[in-house]
Symmetry: C3
Subunit: 442 residues, 3 copies
Amino acid sequence: MTEPPRDRPAAGGVTWDAVPSRDKVGTEIFDLLAELYPICRSISGDGVRQTLSIVSEHLPLAQTEVPTGTKVFDWTVPREWNIRDAWIAAPDGRRVVDFRESNLHVLGYSTPIRARLPLTELKERVFTHPTEPDWVPYRTSYYKENWGFCLSGNQLAALEDGEYEVCIDSTLEPGSITYGEALLEGASEREVLLSTYCCHPSLANDNVSGIAFLAILGSYLCKMELRYSYRFLFSPGSIGPIAWLARNEPSLDRIAHGLVASCLGDPGPMTYKRSRRGSAEIDRAVETVFRDGDREPRIRDFVPLGGDERQFGSPGINLPVGALSRTPADEFRGYHSSADDLALVEPWALGDALHAYLAVIDTLERNHVYVSTSPKGEPQLGPRGLYRSIGGGSFEEGPILWVLNLADGDHDLLAMAERSGLPFPVLADAAELLFRHGLLER
Amino acid sequence: MTEPPRDRPAAGGVTWDAVPSRDKVGTEIFDLLAELYPICRSISGDGVRQTLSIVSEHLPLAQTEVPTGTKVFDWTVPREWNIRDAWIAAPDGRRVVDFRESNLHVLGYSTPIRARLPLTELKERVFTHPTEPDWVPYRTSYYKENWGFCLSGNQLAALEDGEYEVCIDSTLEPGSITYGEALLEGASEREVLLSTYCCHPSLANDNVSGIAFLAILGSYLCKMELRYSYRFLFSPGSIGPIAWLARNEPSLDRIAHGLVASCLGDPGPMTYKRSRRGSAEIDRAVETVFRDGDREPRIRDFVPLGGDERQFGSPGINLPVGALSRTPADEFRGYHSSADDLALVEPWALGDALHAYLAVIDTLERNHVYVSTSPKGEPQLGPRGLYRSIGGGSFEEGPILWVLNLADGDHDLLAMAERSGLPFPVLADAAELLFRHGLLER
Amino acid sequence: MTEPPRDRPAAGGVTWDAVPSRDKVGTEIFDLLAELYPICRSISGDGVRQTLSIVSEHLPLAQTEVPTGTKVFDWTVPREWNIRDAWIAAPDGRRVVDFRESNLHVLGYSTPIRARLPLTELKERVFTHPTEPDWVPYRTSYYKENWGFCLSGNQLAALEDGEYEVCIDSTLEPGSITYGEALLEGASEREVLLSTYCCHPSLANDNVSGIAFLAILGSYLCKMELRYSYRFLFSPGSIGPIAWLARNEPSLDRIAHGLVASCLGDPGPMTYKRSRRGSAEIDRAVETVFRDGDREPRIRDFVPLGGDERQFGSPGINLPVGALSRTPADEFRGYHSSADDLALVEPWALGDALHAYLAVIDTLERNHVYVSTSPKGEPQLGPRGLYRSIGGGSFEEGPILWVLNLADGDHDLLAMAERSGLPFPVLADAAELLFRHGLLER
């Protein structure tokens, strides 16, 4: 008695069968993370280019060079910095601090120096961690010319009086900053922007994790038939998104949704920071995925402190871009120090985060505004085989009835999930079933 | 010194003097309920017609027949079902299941059958209650041709092997479905719709209670001078309201407010399920009545599961119709089973519900948008005798001052009750006093 | 490398250096309060004029007389009442009740009388406190001709049988009511209205405190360069604001914000009653000042009971005027009785309230809608000296980044304080810094 379902196009969505388990895909991300970890990155220079090349083995990237001196909105692209070596030699000639042991030892963007100086003067050029004597801090001086070293407090305390020799074999010269991007074309020109920063040296969670994570995420998404196009952006923090936004300003209205990805390897719960708009579709999608899940994620309002969401959420840009991480930068133990090493990140955490990202993408893909073709009274579901034939007992048509009732053109599926309390995928399945039966239009 | 109050028309409202006490009017409802209880009703057939005839002794109804095959929105009116007798005879000829003992024993809309069959085959035609071995469940098969019996689990377990004879002396033929309605004309053509379903057989709370309740409510309302017109609708569930809506579509905008009445006899607290609109005047009226009362009623958001509010709240209809019951169907112990019998309903509960309905009606009747005729500063109440003459002591002009302050055309009396926290009747009395003094206009 | 800050006009605000400490300025208010306390005020008469003259020594007032019989909105100005003496003499000739001991002993607006009458008749003319036998209550009869005395319960109980002589040497004749006002002109013609009532006789907190408070507040404000103009109004309750509003109706749109000041000397926490609008700028300013403070103040919704905010918040006027007091009238022990004497008010409480008023005024003065001149991406703060030069460590640019991010024309500074949770003065300082750097416009 049931009508044959009509042939209608699919609703879009993640091909879950193509996605490995959390542990397996997490190990894949971890392996790439470990490969990228040793490279010395900064907001410009060959370390960034080398990073983008390795990412391209998983997700082919187009690299863009923006020359020193280019005006991008209020900013000017700085000179390019590269470094080959750096060290401090003790009075007895022994290298007591060595860039080759950790690239954190050099103040980022240090100008070249080769000099001899007594310990008292050297100490004025040394940064230590404010609370942890074992950790080497991460420090930079991008916009004021400077040079210096970062040591652990214990290292510094062990230095004996005398004359030291210091060497920073770096260049700070006209050149360019570099960013990489990939566009996975979907059925629509409307884009989901996935952005991360690639300017931090050997810091595992913040943010080699974000780089490796997006590379592997892209390698899976590119195999799926998706409704949206997906744009991946790997760029140096602040100046990178600003340069990208300035160069792409005319086409920013293609960006329908976006996420800044970072700090995805620590074992803390997932954390979402809302877009500046606060209740954009991406915000509602993440919140619904969190609600439907069994973990205890954290949701926070937008604040103009943090990462590159500051630029996407500046008042003249105001794109619907949130930030989805595990423990946000500056909240996990080890942040901006040598303690943010490979031991801090865990494969399962990376894989779990990837599944969470895919659930958000699946939600965006499947979220439509459906409109009932039979809005007056309920449609008669029984003859279509959509209703239990024996009445009086338990009632299992909830998702179908919710979708039909709210298919008034004012509710997208996310709104139905919010109002009904039902899981989004359950409603999306019900909507696709009704759509095939001709009871809904998109 | 006070001006004589001007002669102005009354504000409408319930004539409380004409309403018996909760216990007395509850007994009146109970007696009618007990009279209607034994009749075998379904979504069509003579049981419905007999029920409507008995109701008409209290509230004269116009009966409408909608023929089998009529298209009403997405639905088609089904064939008419009638039943004279049904039984199962044991191998020894003894009737072990008998429709005359309880009309629940037959699967509703069973096609006629007379056959002999072994116990194993009979069992495939038998429905029992999923959890309670003593209860006979209520089951139907309206839209798929079927026949069967409903037994208690204990009854079924007691059947011994052997060949049984079954008989269902029913007809399922072209005919019609039947609904009854009454319109009590008030000062305005705008209507309050009071609807209930009359398709359930011998189930006392769900929903002979609703039928008897509306009949008696109508018998009192018809003696009052009311502002709104009141339309009572008794119809089979789902198909009834759909047919009524389809036939009355051009004049649905007359429906200003509405309530679906059901399950009004159990001792649980009153429960209100909001209309799909969520904050319509009827929703605000019921919530204010609940707030002003001393019981602990329950308020719930609209969900598209439940009773006929699903049809009134379908997206293309979307009338402001809530559902006001005691314990909703499928939440009280005994729901859809032989345990929903006369012992489950209590006269005081029926009478208490009637008083609650009248309080809601009184609120709708008296709710106006009043506008101050003296909006700049307070009007001088003392010379009008509306203010205490000795100043400095306690202050009792609260309701008058609230009404005057909010009589700006943006607040109806319900909004004043919500904002002030004062009981609605107190504000309504104050408004009517000020209206008689010419300080308010409607 | 930083640009020199441009020369731009100041943002307005309180000159805090010119304000004495809480204790010192509180003593100043208390001394004036003690001077005004003994005067017998009412809604008309020489007591009001004498009060306004003393206030003028601190804040020069223009006095307005509104003649008896003048129609002001719905009200008619009553006759003027003056009193010279009043007493009750016992059968033995001894004065047992004497106006010269306390002006509370006479029912306000008592008509003149000189008569002999037995105790039983006298008792019908006597008011006592409903709960406290030691207290003389404060009572009036403005709008119904009457005469009477107010006694403590103990006084009344001590009266022995016999014939008493009573005398009220008062006049109730055509005259006028009187109000005083002062306008401190600021840079803008937009006004902040500060209003209090001066119709209560010897009641210290309610409301000689409000009179003395506004006088001293005005004496400090008049020395500052302010953005708004400040209008001070001292008038008899209800009839005073109504007369003032009626006479100034064409220019009421100059009133941008307002506060009713009363009951400012008791030791209870500050209490704010919102304007009728509920979320006007004055409401948000007071709530932010309360939030940023370390006390536990109380915030309440507008209700049309209370003081003169009833008139400013009548539906046809609806000015954004809240009421800011310590413990509101009728909530402190001693209200409207002889117990509301000088012992009930404390200098520190008066001074603390004055600082709270100034904080609110400072907030109104400094609250602007700033708009970023560089809204796309963050502006580059480093070269302007607005950003720490060493990156990677702690982060102290929060207020600057919040202001820049929300400087979109939709947020005033109060909205930024609400959304960021940062103290208003911190954001105002940041905004003024950015404004001087040309990064914001007003």
